[in-house]
Symmetry: C2
Subunit: 340 residues, 2 copies
Amino acid sequence: MSQRVPTVRDVAARAGVSVGTVSKALNNRGQLREETRARVVAAARELGFRPNSLAQGLQSGRTYTVAVITTDRFGRFGNPLMLGVEDALGADRVSVFLCDTRDDPIREHHHAETLDERRVDGIIVAGRRKQTRAPLAVASGVPVVYVIAQSSDPSDFCVTTDDVGGGVLAARHLLASGRTRIGHITGPERFADPRERAAGLSSVLDSAGLDLAGGQVFYGEWSEDWGRRAAEMLLHAAPDTDAIFCGSDQIARGVVETLRDRRLRVPGDIAVVGFDNWEPMAAGCRPPLTTVDPNLREVGRVAATRLLDMIAGRPVEGGVETVPAWLMLRESTGVREAGA
Amino acid sequence: MSQRVPTVRDVAARAGVSVGTVSKALNNRGQLREETRARVVAAARELGFRPNSLAQGLQSGRTYTVAVITTDRFGRFGNPLMLGVEDALGADRVSVFLCDTRDDPIREHHHAETLDERRVDGIIVAGRRKQTRAPLAVASGVPVVYVIAQSSDPSDFCVTTDDVGGGVLAARHLLASGRTRIGHITGPERFADPRERAAGLSSVLDSAGLDLAGGQVFYGEWSEDWGRRAAEMLLHAAPDTDAIFCGSDQIARGVVETLRDRRLRVPGDIAVVGFDNWEPMAAGCRPPLTTVDPNLREVGRVAATRLLDMIAGRPVEGGVETVPAWLMLRESTGVREAGA
DNA sequence: GTGCCGCCAGAAAACCTATTCCGAAAGTGC
DNA sequence: GCACTTTCGGAATAGGTTTTCTGGCGGCAC
């Protein structure tokens, strides 16, 4: 009872040919009689033969594997991203190694070494936040694409979200809905992402000759609780606010709760726009949230596609490619009620 | 300018020894003079040599790779699970292939074939729901561990959550807090998970001689909206309800919202317990939710550990191993207010 | 002092599995 | 009978690990 997995040698023996012939028959290469080819194929099927991709990789120098290194503790951002990556990679029978660094440089280095040894064809390095980071320490020649967090080496290629554009989308939508006294509650000022979203909003307001309701951006934390507290502050500073753009869906949830407590109708009295399009948060809200979708799945798809380009030797220019966001319309920015 | 990655041959040439000697030197095997070993190690370092793990895998028959096949990429369930898997695997330098089937049997089969060819050492098949599924169609001999969804082959090994136990925990906690009129709002009745949670609750209530508030389990959907609607129904049927155990944190959020609308205080008038301990949902709730944590990270850790056992040839009995849940205490089940 | 045994260090070769290139045998055409 | 094609075997190759082999040397006995 040999439980051994069959090799080309076994197939060759069973078909009565040489190993070279087996390879040619199964890969449709070389000159073979149709009868021979069929015999080999039959033998392979009967034995349940599966070529060893380690041996193939050794031979060809390509492993058809790609790694995704993420700092995101498999958080919610990683999911749509991975989905996009799989979209692009799946077609090519490329398998994905998933490595979580847990924000630890030692772990990252460790993963990089292992991936080097595994001779992955390429690597996607995904950060959680927009920031500049040191290039991944990996064998020269292995293509690397950076996602969201970009490399400090300008010749590296990076794909990222369009946070300024997301802010612009939200702002234009609110203006188009007839809102003019728009406030902004968002995450920590020390991060680039919320600053860019705020910049997008401000640019639109400036062009329209409008000021930010409350006179300032309310920077704080990425939590519902901050949304609740900041909404109080904003309404205290500017009681006539008629729209609030929030830096995340979680913040928006908090904001909506405060508005409800104060008997303010959404969207009747105040429209609310979130950011992330984090389905369970945004759709579960009452009313469901209109929100900016940063298009992470597309970001993942673009990253993987470019990586495949680089692997195939097609030139990919260094620099940052920005994927446009889009607006998910739900009820929280619906039409303003008459007389409101 | 040869960009070629260095091989043992290059190291051997630089150190002035044979390739066999290089291997022995770098792996601390065989008999070598200390001076020779040091010379080889130095040469390897200077060249930036990294052994090709494809070649090693070909030789040893072990690849130090494991695959996780999941049907649940969107879900929040995959994240803590993967974390646990990496906890257990990381120590052994085992890399993880992540395969998403998107609930498509064709995709699953496709992944299984590819993993076969890659000669992964083992596979973890993770389902989203407790159900029985056909065994993964993979080369005989490759160890497979099933998570949550179990294999129809009783000799396969499966790790799963303790939903009955979770229900028991929630029920005991509520009884201990002095609640006696406990309702239950949960997900679809056609799934085993909510039925088991309800069974756990019922068993405790039965032992205490209590009935379920509202006279029935409110089965529905896994949404906030169902939580809101079902809470209305429950309160209509049993206005004196003093606690609600919810089948998910999302449902609990909806329930809490309805209670707030009705001016019922949580936990003052009614205590609420969720299920999942999905941090942003449970902690963001006002008040923060006491909730059953199904311990998915531990489930992942156990699955990976058992898989490593099987890979190492240590016997693992078939059957289902259940990982105990635990209760995350937050404010939604705090002390009952005096006079309430 | 010389011959033999055994050990040490490292070279050389075999092996893991699949692919590819080269060449040989057999068959065809004229 | 010669050139040419078709068909397939055999060997080289990829990059390591492992086993076997060899040369040199020390120790011991006579």
